[in-house]
């Protein structure tokens, strides 16, 4: 993945955000203020920020959950406002609250999502089987999701998000509540996904994980992009924590 980017820096942009502005109803300030980002194919992109910085709001705008006031979001060249169905076809989203239709069984839910994205039967069977084994929840796939543990719900969300092999995989704090082995499995899958020419965009509070895993990282504070860091630059991974602290703490003191 990293080598691919280094070899071919002119790769296509899978996610383009230009001058995005979002203000919630009755709010007196913008939750996202003039955010501009471009994510290339084949990269893992980390999104860092404190609680309330605007990470989840940005992700919700990207995935179409929240309407936005100004700016532009394009997924694989499709505008989220004018061509939203085509844009959504290219996204796989894992929410932070793992909400799913709990009255369905795991298999029913994944099939439902696969149907919506028009995944052929053989492909979905192969992928479902692979991910179920990877996340070790084959034993529960025909059980009602309502009885799943927190981690199992997270895993079924991830499987549903990947069932159509999206070009852009968006995860909102994906490691929360997962056992170490499942975290390693997700990291491996992120790497495999980007190696196949796709992009991963994820928010996290785990600076250590982001510094080890990502190609680039954006630090957001009070809805504004504070710094865009290429972690392939010398010393960038080692200094990430320091940079994050200086950017967010300085703002807090001010």
């Amino acid at each position: 993945m990293n080598e691919e980017i280094e070899k071919n820096p002119e790769r296509e942009n899978l996610l383009v955000i230009h001058h995005l502005k979002k203000k919630y109803l009755n709010a007196n300030r913008y939750s996202i203020n003039d955010l501009t980002l471009e994510l290339k194919a084949g990269e893992i992109f980390g999104f860092l920020g404190q609680n309330g910085a605007g990470k989840s709001t940005t992700i919700k705008c990207i995935t179409g959950i929240h309407p936005y006031d100004e700016g532009e979001i394009k997924i694989c060249g499709h505008d989220m406002k004018t061509d939203s169905i085509a844009a959504k076809m290219n996204i796989g989203y894992v929410p932070d609250n793992h909400s799913v239709y709990e009255k369905l069984t795991g298999r029913e839910y994944v099939n439902y999502i696969a149907d919506l994205y028009g995944v052929p039967l053989e492909e979905r069977a192969e992928r479902m089987d692979r991910y179920l084994k990877m996340f070790k929840i084959s034993f529960a796939v025909d059980r009602q999701i309502k009885g799943y543990s927190h981690g199992m719900k997270q895993k079924i969300c991830i499987i549903a998000a990947l069932i159509h092999n999206p070009r852009l995989w968006v995860l909102d704090e994906p490691m929360v509540g997962l056992d170490p082995q499942s975290m390693f499995d997700i990291i491996d899958e992120m790497k495999a996904h980007t190696a196949a020419g796709n992009t991963v965009f994820f928010s996290s509070h785990n600076i250590d994980l982001v510094s080890k895993l990502c190609d680039r990282v954006a630090i957001i504070h009070d809805g504004e992009l504070k710094r865009l860091i290429d972690l392939h630059e010398e010393g960038a991974r080692e200094s990430l924590e320091q940079v994050f602290r200086s950017l967010t703490m300085a703002e807090n003191k001010a």
Partner: protein, 537 residues
């Protein structure tokens, strides 16, 4: 005691905490409107009770009225109590949270039951007390009546509360056993609702027939005799009443006290012993789910959404009862109502109005069934985000929901028409013409209901992911649906005499078509934008 007070305050805050709109003027306006409406309804209630008491007293059945009233109050409070005890004591959303804190189960129980008792006191003071006072004044009771009134009121609070507590645990256990038997639960619900309704309507029918045949009113010598005889055996309501009016006062006072004490002690010891284990078992059993082995299969986006929407309803006991059970039981309920309405209508106007009455009853049940559509978006709850991220237009998703509601209601309407025809209530032509009109009105009501919910959905869901508060849109749809039914019914009855039945039905069909088109346009215009604006934080 400190523990109890803290928990009680917490409980009160969670129920009645600040719920203002943030705009003081609107909040005050809402409160004022609510007060005026409640005041009007309450004034009508007091007036009605006064008339009823005077009427019973006039016919020498004052005591029987008191017994029947106490019995009815006890029954309502007990039935309300069972569901409240289960919901607020054993299945309260914060039980799991509270169990983690160093508070005793007794304090939790006491704080929750206190709120429930508070509800009962309010009900007793506002609904029961005025009736007792009106009765006392109308029948000229002495000071002992008023002196013993607080005691009877306390009995009226404690007894239903105790019985509800005793019955709650067995009811919960039966419910837990039937939890994942969806088809069986639905079938039993349908049978119970249809049978209950059929029996209820038949009782009313027999009363009507009896009065008709005997050419007498409710206060005939025979009817009064039956009621007086029955009242003697309605225990313990008759003891409470005798205690007040002074019939064998010492004996009935002792018996009343004894029965209340026995039930209260039973409830106390049962809860002391079983409250904590029941809560823990329920929390533990909450995750108990079913296994349903299926094969991977591919469906179209529209069909898969249709199936998912249906399963979400079918696999929820609440939704299944509110919607599917009512839809399946509707033909029986409409048949029973028609039978009664036809008898009463024929007596007063003539058999010619029966088709119009049948249409009105059919529309009333359509409104009840379709009011469910008013929570079509709200019911998504925490999963609403999924409807925004999937590559299926909002318009399509909404239309699929409407297709499901229309499928269920159309089947219900056709079955109802068939029952009306086969039971010779209405001719085939008019049965199915009424079904056609009901179908068009159903489209209008469904579109109207979904429109309301896409404008202002309420995603207040409980721990089970189901709606935890009454949706305002549902009440609005019910009200509008009932209003349309009554207007159609009245117009039909008048129209039959003015233009004949065929022409009347044609006019109603035309109006229904216009209503359907208008409601669909109101829903569809700007739907995508409206849906896009819905964004729970």
């Amino acid at each position: 005691m400190k523990e109890f007070l803290t928990l009680f305050r917490l409980e009160m805050k969670s129920r009645f905490g600040a719920r203002g709109t943030g705009k003081p003027f609107l909040t005050v306006l809402k409160v004022l409107v609510a007060l005026v409406l409640v005041g009007l309804v309450y004034a009508a209630y007091i007036f009605g009770i006064k008339q009823l008491v005077s009427m019973f007293y006039l016919y020498g059945m004052g005591n029987e009225f008191l017994i029947l009233f106490i019995a009815l109050s006890l029954l309502i409070l007990t039935l309300f109590g069972i569901s409240s005890v289960i919901k607020n004591l054993f299945r309260s959303g914060d039980n799991e949270l509270l169990m983690r804190f160093p508070v005793s189960p007794q304090a939790v129980f006491a704080s929750k039951i206190s709120v429930f008792i508070l509800y009962q006191i309010i009900f007793t003071l506002f609904i029961e007390l005025p009736v007792f006072i009106i009765f006392g004044m109308t029948t000229g009771q002495g000071w002992t009546y008023y002196a013993l009134l607080p005691v009877v009121l306390i009995f009226c609070i404690v007894l239903p509360l105790s019985v509800a507590n005793l019955l709650a645990i067995p009811v919960m256990q039966i419910g837990a056993r039937a939890k994942n038997m969806f088809t069986l639960s639905l079938l039993i619900s349908v049978i119970l609702v249809a049978a209950g309704f059929y029996i209820y309507m038949n009782i009313i029918q027999s009363v009507v027939n009896y009065m008709k045949e005997e050419a007498m009113g409710f206060f005939s010598k025979e009817t009064m005799g039956i009621v007086s005889e029955a009242a003697k055996y309605i225990y313990p309501a008759n003891w409470f009443a005798y205690m007040l009016i002074g019939e064998w006062r010492i004996g009935t006072s002792f018996l009343s006290l004894l029965v209340v004490a026995i039930f209260a002690a039973g409830a106390f010891f049962l809860n002391k012993r079983c409250y904590l284990p029941t809560i823990l078992r329920d929390i533990e059993g909450n995750g108990a789910t079913f296994t349903f082995v299926t094969k991977n299969k591919r469906r179209s986006p529209a069909w898969t959404t249709f199936c998912r929407e249906f399963l979400e309803i079918f696999r929820s006991s609440n939704y299944s009862f509110q919607y599917l059970c009512m839809a399946v039981a509707a033909p029986v309920m409409v048949y029973s109502c028609n039978k009664l309405a036809a008898t009463m209508g024929e007596n007063t106007i003539g058999a010619v109005i029966v088709p119009a009455l049948a249409l009105m009853v059919m529309l009333i049940f359509c409104a009840i069934i379709l009011s469910f559509a008013a929570s079509s978006v709200s019911r998504e709850g925490d999963n609403f985000y999924l409807t925004k991220i999937v590559p299926l237009s909002y318009r399509t998703q909404v239309l699929i929901k409407i297709a499901l509601y229309m499928t269920v209601s159309t089947v219900s309407i056709l079955a109802t028409a068939l029952v009306m025809y086969l039971s010779h209530q209405v001719s085939a032509a008019y049965s199915f013409s009424a079904a056609g009109i009901a179908f068009l009105v159903s489209i209008a009501v469904t579109a109207f209901a979904v429109r309301l919910d896409t404008t202002r959905p309420q995603f207040a869901v409980g721990g089970d992911g189901e709606l935890s508060v009454g949706n305002v849109s549902t009440f609005v749809v019910l009200f509008v649906g009932f209003a349309i039914s009554v207007v159609y019914g009245l117009f039909g009855m008048v129209g039959i005499f003015l233009w004949g039945l065929t022409k009347t039905f044609l006019i109603l069909a035309g109006v229904s078509l216009l209503l359907a088109v208008a409601a669909v346009l109101w829903l569809m215009i700007g739907l995508d934008k409206r849906y896009d604006r819905i964004s729970p934080r």
